[in-house]
C-alpha cells in the first residue's frame, strides 16, 4: 500500500463507519426499513466475501455459491421446524452441512477446469435446489416459515433488530479479517500461486488440488453461515434462496466491488443491492436496466468499483508524488 489515504481506503473507511452507525440513524429518524435493508445487505456481503475467497483469490469460478445460503438456511429452518431452536445446535449444523456439501462438490468439480468448473458447480447447486424443492415435509417449493429465531443465551436476542444487525456486522467483519489472514498465510500464498500458474506450482511440488479443496470448503462453510443468518433475518427459507440467479448476484457483487480485495465484495454488495433498491423504485421493470448495465460494466469497467477507486487514488498519488505512478 502506498499510503493510508488512497481513495479506496477513504471510501472503505467511510463505508465501515456508515455501517457501524446505521442503527443510530435508523433509531433517530425512525427509519426501520433501512435497517432491514442493510441487515440483508450485510448478510449477502458475507456470502460475497466468502465467494471472493475462491473466486478472487483462488481463481475458482464457482457458479453455485448460493447453494450454501440455502443449506445454511435450511439447517436452521428444518431444525426449527422440528422444535430445535438453540443456535448452539442450529449454527454448527448449518456450518457442518455446508462444509460437507462443499467437500463433496469441490472434490468432484475441482478435477476439472475452466468452463467445466462453471457448469458443474452450477449444476450441483441446482441439484440442491431441486432437492429441497422436493421435500414436502419442509414446505417444498413454498418454503418454510421460521417462527422463532435461533436462540442463544441472554442477553443475546436475535429477535431484536438492532442486536441482530450488529451480530451480522460483527460476523461480516470477522469473516473479512479471517480471509485477510488466510490469504496472507502460507496457505493463501499456495492458493494464489495456483490461481496464477498452476502448472508451475505443481512443478515445484505443491499438491494444488488439496489446497484448492480446503479453500473451497472454507468458503462454503462461511457461505453456510451467511445462510443461517439470512434465514433468521427473513424468518423464512425457501428454495428461491438458492436459485442459481442468486449465485449470479453474488458473483456480480464480487466483481463489481473488486476481486481479491478484502473489502471489495462488501462494497459490491452495497452497490448492487442499493442500486436494485433505487432502480426498483423507478420502474417495476428495473431488471431491464440492470441487465444492460451489468453488460456495460463487463465490457468497459472490469476493475469494478474498487478498481475505479484505486485508479482515482493512483491519479491523486501521481499528482502528489510523481514517482508512484512510474
Amino acid at each position: 500500500m502506498s499510503g493510508a489515504f488512497t481513495a479506496r481506503n477513504v471510501a472503505t473507511a467511510a463505508l465501515i463507519a456508515g455501517l457501524v452507525l446505521l442503527p443510530v440513524y435508523s433509531q433517530v429518524f425512525g427509519d426501520r426499513f433501512i435497517l432491514t435493508l442493510f441487515t440483508r445487505i450485510v448478510i449477502l456481503a458475507l456470502a460475497a466475501v466468502s465467494l471472493n475467497l475462491i473466486l478472487g483469490f483462488g481463481g475458482m469460478m464457482s457458479f453455485g455459491h448460493a447453494a450454501y445460503l440455502g443449506i445454511g438456511g435450511y439447517a436452521v429452518g428444518m431444525l426449527a421446524h422440528e422444535g430445535i431452536y438453540s443456535g448452539f445446535i442450529q449454527w454448527p449444523v448449518a456450518l457442518l452441512a455446508s462444509a460437507l456439501f462443499a467437500l463433496v462438490i469441490g472434490a468432484l468439480s475441482l478435477r476439472t477446469r475452466g468452463v467445466y468448473f462453471i457448469m458443474i458447480t452450477l449444476a450441483f447447486a441446482q441439484m440442491a435446489y431441486y432437492l429441497v424443492s422436493g421435500l414436502a415435509r419442509y414446505g417444498g417449493d413454498d418454503g418454510l416459515t421460521i417462527y422463532k429465531r435461533s436462540q442463544f443465551i441472554e442477553p443475546l436476542n436475535l429477535s431484536n433488530k438492532v442486536q441482530f444487525y450488529y451480530v451480522c456486522l460483527a460476523i461480516l467483519f470477522g469473516a473479512i479479517y479471517l480471509i485477510w489472514r488466510l490469504t496472507n498465510s502460507r496457505f493463501g500464498m499456495a492458493v494464489q500461486g495456483a490461481r496464477s500458474n498452476e502448472a508451475r506450482m505443481r512443478a515445484i511440488g505443491f499438491p494444488t488440488y488439496r489446497y484448492r479443496l480446503v479453500c473451497f470448503v472454507i468458503a462454503g462453510t462461511l457461505g453456510g453461515l451467511a445462510g443461517a443468518l439470512l434465514a433468521n433475518h427473513a424468518d423464512f427459507i425457501s428454495p428461491a434462496t438458492m436459485y442459481w440467479t442468486r449465485s449470479g448476484d453474488l458473483i456480480i457483487m464480487v466483481v463489481l466491488g473488486g476481486m481479491a480485495t478484502p473489502f471489495g465484495p462488501l462494497i459490491g454488495a452495497v452497490a448492487l443491492l442499493v442500486l436494485e433498491e433505487v432502480l426498483s423504485g423507478i420502474t417495476e421493470y428495473w431488471q431491464i436496466i440492470l441487465g444492460p448495465l451489468l453488460l456495460l460494466v463487463v465490457l468497459f469497467a472490469r476493475g469494478g468499483i474498487d478498481g475505479l477507486l484505486s485508479l482515482l487514488g493512483a491519479k491523486v498519488a501521481t499528482k502528489v508524488n510523481p514517482k508512484v505512478g512510474s
Binding site: 469460478m61 442459481w244 431491464i288
Partner: protein, 305 residues
C-alpha cells in the same frame, strides 16, 4: 410394459429436445470459446414467438416457421451487438455479460407479453394419438417432435461433416488463425454459427411450448440440464451432446416415472413418498458426478479444450 415403453419414448423425445439446446451451446463454445448463459433465453424467446405468431396467423405450422426465423434473427442480432465484444475475454466476463442478458430478456418478455404466460394450442391433426404398434397408442405431437429433432440431428451431421461451412466450423474450432488466413470472413461465420445455435434453441422452445406453459424463466431450468448434457458429453463434441442428451433425457423421464415405485419397495411408504420427488430429480446429477469421476473431460471430449 406399455407404460414403460411410452416413458422410454417420452425420455427419447425429451432427450432429443435437450440435444437441440446442448448442440447450440457446444457449437458456440467449441468454435468461439464462448460460455453463453443466455442460451436458455433464446429457447424462451422461441416459445413466445411461436405462441404469438401462431395466434396471429391462425396456423401452428406458419407460427412455428416464423418463430424459427425470428429467433434466428434475434440470435444474430445478439451476436452482432453483444457477443462479438466478448470473444477473447475470460470466461468470467462471458458469465457476467450473458447473465446480464438473461435479466434483460426475462424483463423484456415480461414487458411485452406480461407476466401471466401464454399457451400454444395444438392443431387438431397433431392433438390426437397414433397407433405405432398393435395395441400401443402414442401422442402424435410427441412423435412429431421425435421425427423433427432426428431430422435436425441428421441435418447437423451433414452440415458439420459434409459441407464447406461445416469444414470451416470444424477448422475454426481447432485453429482460428488458419481459418482467418484462408480469407474466410470469420465475423460472418461466427454470426452464422451463433444464429444457428439460437435457432436450434428456439426450435426446442417452440416445440416444447404446446406441452408446457410458455412462461418467463422457462429457459433457465432447461439450460441447466443442457449444461449437464454438455458436461457429460464433453464440451465441443456434437456426437457427445447427442449421446449425453439421450442418456439424460431417458434417465430423467424414467427416474421420475418409476423411481418412486422402486423406492417404495425399499423404504416405508411414507418415507418413500416424502423422499421420492427429491431423490428422483437428483438422478441426472448423480450420473454427471459418476462421469466426472471416471472421465473428467466428458464422454466424448474434443481433446485439447
Amino acid at each position: 410394459m406399455t407404460l414403460f415403453f411410452e416413458q422410454c419414448l417420452n425420455g427419447l423425445q425429451f432427450g432429443l429436445l435437450l440435444f437441440l439446446l446442448a448442440a447450440g451451446l457446444t457449437l458456440v463454445f467449441g468454435i468461439m470459446d464462448l460460455v453463453n448463459l443466455a442460451h436458455g433465453s433464446l429457447y424462451m424467446v422461441g416459445a413466445y414467438f411461436a405462441a404469438t405468431f401462431a395466434a396471429w396467423t391462425g396456423s401452428f405450422v406458419f407460427g412455428a416457421v416464423l418463430a424459427l426465423c425470428a429467433t434466428l434473427v434475434v440470435g444474430m442480432a445478439v451476436e452482432v451487438i453483444v457477443m462479438r465484444r466478448l470473444y477473447g475475454r475470460d470466461h468470467l466476463d462471458h458469465v457476467l455479460g450473458t447473465f446480464g442478458l438473461i435479466l434483460f430478456f426475462d424483463e423484456a418478455v415480461r414487458l411485452i407479453w406480461g407476466p401471466a404466460g401464454l399457451s400454444l394450442p395444438l392443431p387438431s391433426w397433431l392433438a390426437g394419438s397414433v397407433q405405432i404398434l398393435p395395441g400401443f397408442q402414442y401422442s402424435s405431437y410427441r412423435l412429431a417432435i421425435i421425427v423433427v429433432t432426428l431430422s435436425v440431428a441428421a441435418f447437423l451431421y451433414v452440415l458439420v461433416m459434409r459441407t464447406r461451412i461445416g469444414m470451416l466450423i470444424r477448422a475454426g474450432a481447432s485453429n482460428r488463425e488458419m481459418v482467418g488466413a484462408l480469407g474466410v470472413n470469420i465475423k460472418l461465420l461466427y454470426t452464422l454459427v451463433f444464429g444457428l445455435g439460437a435457432a436450434l434453441a428456439g426450435l426446442a422452445g417452440l416445440m416444447q411450448a404446446p406441452i408446457l406453459t410458455v412462461q418467463i424463466g422457462m429457459g433457465e431450468n432447461i439450460l441447466i440440464l443442457a449444461f449437464v448434457v454438455t458436461v457429460i458429453g464433453g464440451i465441443g463434441s456434437i456426437r457427445g451432446a447427442l449421446v449425453a442428451a439421450l442418456l439424460v433425457g431417458i434417465l430423467d423421464t424414467l427416474g421420475r416415472a418409476f423411481f418412486p415405485d422402486i423406492l417404495r419397495t425399499m423404504l416405508s411408504p411414507t418415507a418413500a413418498s416424502a423422499l421420492a420427488p427429491a431423490l428422483s430429480s437428483m438422478l441426472i446429477y448423480l450420473l454427471m458426478a459418476i462421469v466426472l469421476v471416471i472421465k473428467p473431460e466428458g464422454l466424448f471430449s474434443a481433446g485439447n479444450k
